[in-house]
């Protein structure tokens, strides 16, 4: 720290300096001091974080937008400006449209399944005691595992002759599906794996929400003769609105960036792009391929889609919270 500015006594740290109309020398000095003070405050408290963010998030986004308007390709220098060509090519590219469809299906499943499952499990485990604590830990453990580890485990589990299909055969299913080889199943298998990993997150968030539901309200409703279902709909569910918001937004954002699972489990297949998300295609095209410009256009479109989807989800969900 280089600048120490003593604060004027009795003034809150963020209160602005002297008034505009005062032009006398002491007042000007005081104002200059206040500006210096505010700069120092910004410089010490905010600048380090803001600058790293600017360098590693904001600047790259700007660069991405720029690349998306060029034919950037390390194999084909020089870089040339192509305007919106990449975008017009993209919206006609069946590969991209497939990826869009895959991402949408995957996101819908990953937002809905852990949300519903997590809520049910949370209602089931909403009791005190060591037993229920232990159960909660079981459900939460996958959340802290690496996606690569989860992918390897499930690839083994879902193998055509893996433990799951052996169990199914033992139960009398003659021809269990090829979970990862059948193009009709692979995407749903991957979505289930992600849902399995995320469910514990939702459980914990819903449990916290449930703990915030006053017992008196429940009891009052029970006295009014409301059954468990009505009590849930009238009392509990509305009070879980903030938890629903958190879960939905977190799931939405993490579903959109699905890459690791695809890379490790299916590599985008079976066949052409049956499980390739946009996030997967961005890196396949840009890093593993060499079409940086085209990949950047994909990335920018993806960012717009995530932004709009998140904003819409937040607007709807927050609206519910206010309506209470």
């Amino acid at each position: 720290m280089t600048t120490h500015t003593e604060l004027p006594a009795g003034r809150a740290p963020t209160a602005p300096g002297g008034g505009r109309t005062t032009g006398t020398p002491p007042a000007r000095r005081r104002r200059r001091g206040a500006i210096r003070d505010r700069l120092a405050h910004f410089g010490i408290f905010a600048a380090p974080g803001v600058l790293t963010y600017a360098c590693f998030v904001v600047a790259p986004i700007v660069l991405s937008v720029y690349y998306s308007l060029t034919n950037a390709n390390p194999f084909r220098p020089p870089r040339r400006w192509v305007g919106l060509d990449n975008y017009t090519a993209l919206v006609q590219d069946p590969e991209f449209l497939t990826a869009l469809r895959v991402t949408t299906i995957l996101t819908l499943i990953v937002v809905i399944v852990p949300n519903v499952g997590g809520l049910l499990v949370a209602l089931l485990l909403d009791k005190r005691g060591r037993f229920y604590n232990a159960m909660r830990s079981v459900f939460f453990t996958p959340v802290i595992l690496s996606s690569v580890v989860v992918s390897v485990i499930w690839t083994r589990l879902l193998d055509v002759d893996g433990p799951l299909n052996r169990a199914l055969r033992a139960l009398g299913v003659d021809d269990p599906p090829a979970w990862l080889s059948d193009p009709d199943f692979a995407l749903y298998s991957v979505a289930s794996i992600i849902s399995w990993q995320m469910i514990g997150f939702c459980v914990v968030v819903y449990l916290a929400g449930l703990q915030g539901v006053p017992v008196e309200l429940q009891e009052a409703a029970a006295l009014d003769g409301a059954g468990p279902v009505r009590r849930f709909r009238a009392v509990t569910w509305p009070l879980l609105a903030p938890a629903l918001t958190i879960n939905t937004v977190v799931l939405l954002i993490s579903a959109f960036k699905t890459y690791d699972y695809i890379k490790v489990i299916t590599n985008g297949g079976p066949g052409a792009g049956t499980t390739a998300t946009i996030a997967f295609n961005v890196l396949q095209t840009g890093l593993d391929g060499n079409h940086v410009g085209y990949a950047s256009a994909m990335a920018v479109l993806m960012l717009v889609i995530v932004g709009v989807a998140t904003a819409v989800a937040l607007k709807i969900l927050r609206g519910r919270e206010v309506d209470l």
Partner: protein
């Protein structure tokens, strides 16, 4: 949470952090590269090519040339090593020497050193894989892709006598095997897409290249297309095998190692695979005899697809380029190293005057004889999908061929749709 437990927690967290940092400080880091002749060398690891294999190979060279200091890098996946090299180029970490990475694309962008005739004088096929008339990858070895390995026990049990030479004989054998309850062909896929497209590569190589060796060069000039009848017929032939149930479509997500294991476990009768499989066939446990025959052609004419190359490429921008070149050549010409590569990976070294060691296994020997005979009869053609130069696929297209093969196997697309898809991807890649 009371403030006491909070404090306790924070103290605990701080202690954990300090311990881990201290641990990190004293644990082993990768050996750095110092000195004037330092180079980086990108390898890849497979069940055949283990870390110990590479370390020993590097040491043999550095024992002879102690001035060269080698930092070994490892691609995170064997099948994706060319893609990974692109990623490293993109992120400014392109290695000095790379092995088994396709030079296509890198060479045209001026990233690679072009080997001079003098560098190539010891190689049997110095003019393999030309890119714009120059040679960027040492033509170190030849691989036949794919001969068909077969389970003699299952053939006998199904009453298949003799080795198929024509396509009809192959279909007849497959039909008998299927009737006997055996899966005729073993394929794989998943993250190792090439295991899905092996048979397709065989069909295209023998059918198309048998008559028109330069078919892909013509494709590059846009004189032919994937939607042309001759290519669609090849796709149909392949799709047909799946339709008749000779290929188990449930196996397109099985990775390469599991696929190999499935054949060794007797879960299928015929295994079309590159001749590197011979190394596993001769070393890994199995309770039947393995035979090998050339990929059958339509009319039985001898056509043997093979790829010669696979050796080192050297970065044009290597800091110590002469050391990098010296290392690459010394690595590739070392007799002991060649013997090791034969034993570990079943390669056919393409070095003048080289003879494989006498103690190789029977499957390797059988495959090597097939190849020698093809060379004598001038019947060798390129192996489709595996070419790495101007006579091959555009960079990035091999993955699309694999995906197309999977679509044919699962029945998601028919031959015409796959051909259209390939032409569209070709346009994007060019």
């Amino acid at each position: 949470m009371t403030s006491v437990t909070r404090r306790k927690f924070l103290r605990g967290a701080a202690a954990t952090l300090l311990t881990t940092a201290a641990l990190a400080g004293c644990s082993v880091g990768p050996s750095g590269s110092g000195g004037g002749e330092a180079i980086t060398f990108l390898t890849f690891e497979t069940p055949n090519l283990t870390p110990a294999y590479w370390d020993a190979a590097i040491k043999r060279v550095t024992d002879k040339h102690p001035e060269i200091k080698v930092t070994k890098l490892v691609a995170p996946s064997a099948d994706g090593r060319t893609a990974y090299a692109k990623q490293l180029l993109q992120s400014g970490q392109f290695p000095d020497v790379l092995v088994g990475v396709s030079p296509a694309g890198f060479a045209e962008a001026g990233e690679l050193y072009a080997w001079q005739p003098d560098d190539l004088k010891d190689f049997q096929f110095p003019t393999a894989n030309p890119i714009q008339g120059k040679y960027f990858q040492l033509p170190a070895n030849t691989q036949t892709i794919p001969p068909i390995y077969y389970n003699k026990k299952l053939f006998q049990a199904a009453g298949v006598t003799g080795e198929p030479k024509t396509w009809d004989e192959l279909l007849a054998a497959a039909e008998k095997l299927k009737a006997a309850g055996t899966t005729p062909f073993v394929i794989g896929g998943g993250k190792d897409g090439f295991a899905s497209s092996m048979i397709l590569a065989g069909i295209v190589s023998t059918d198309l290249y048998g008559d028109r060796k330069d078919w892909l060069s013509k494709r590059r000039e846009d004189k032919v297309k994937f939607t042309d009848p001759e290519f669609v017929v090849a796709l149909e032939k392949f799709g047909n095998l799946a339709e008749r149930g000779y290929i188990d479509k449930n196996n397109v997500s099985r990775d390469y190692a599991a696929t190999e294991q499935a054949f060794l476990d007797g879960q299928g009768a015929m295994y079309p695979m590159g001749n590197w499989f011979a190394a596993s066939a001769d070393s890994k446990q199995h309770d039947f005899e393995i035979g090998v025959f050339n990929f059958p052609t339509q009319d039985g004419k001898l056509v043997v697809p093979a790829y010669t190359g696979g050796g080192m490429i050297v970065s044009a921008n290597a800091k110590n380029q002469s050391a990098a070149r010296k290392f690459a050549l010394a690595f590739q010409l070392d007799k002991e190293q060649l013997d090791q590569s034969v034993k570990a990976d079943g390669l056919f070294p393409a070095i003048k005057g080289y003879q494989p060691p006498a103690d190789t296994g029977p499957v390797f020997k059988a495959g090597y004889e097939l190849y020698q005979k093809a060379v004598q009869e001038n019947a060798v053609v390129n192996a489709f999908r595996w070419e790495t130069a101007d006579d091959g696929l555009l960079p990035g297209m091999a993955d699309k061929i694999d995906a197309a093969a999977q679509d044919l196997v699962t029945g998601r697309k028919n031959a015409a749709e796959v051909a259209t898809y390939l032409d569209a991807e070709w346009t994007k890649a060019s």
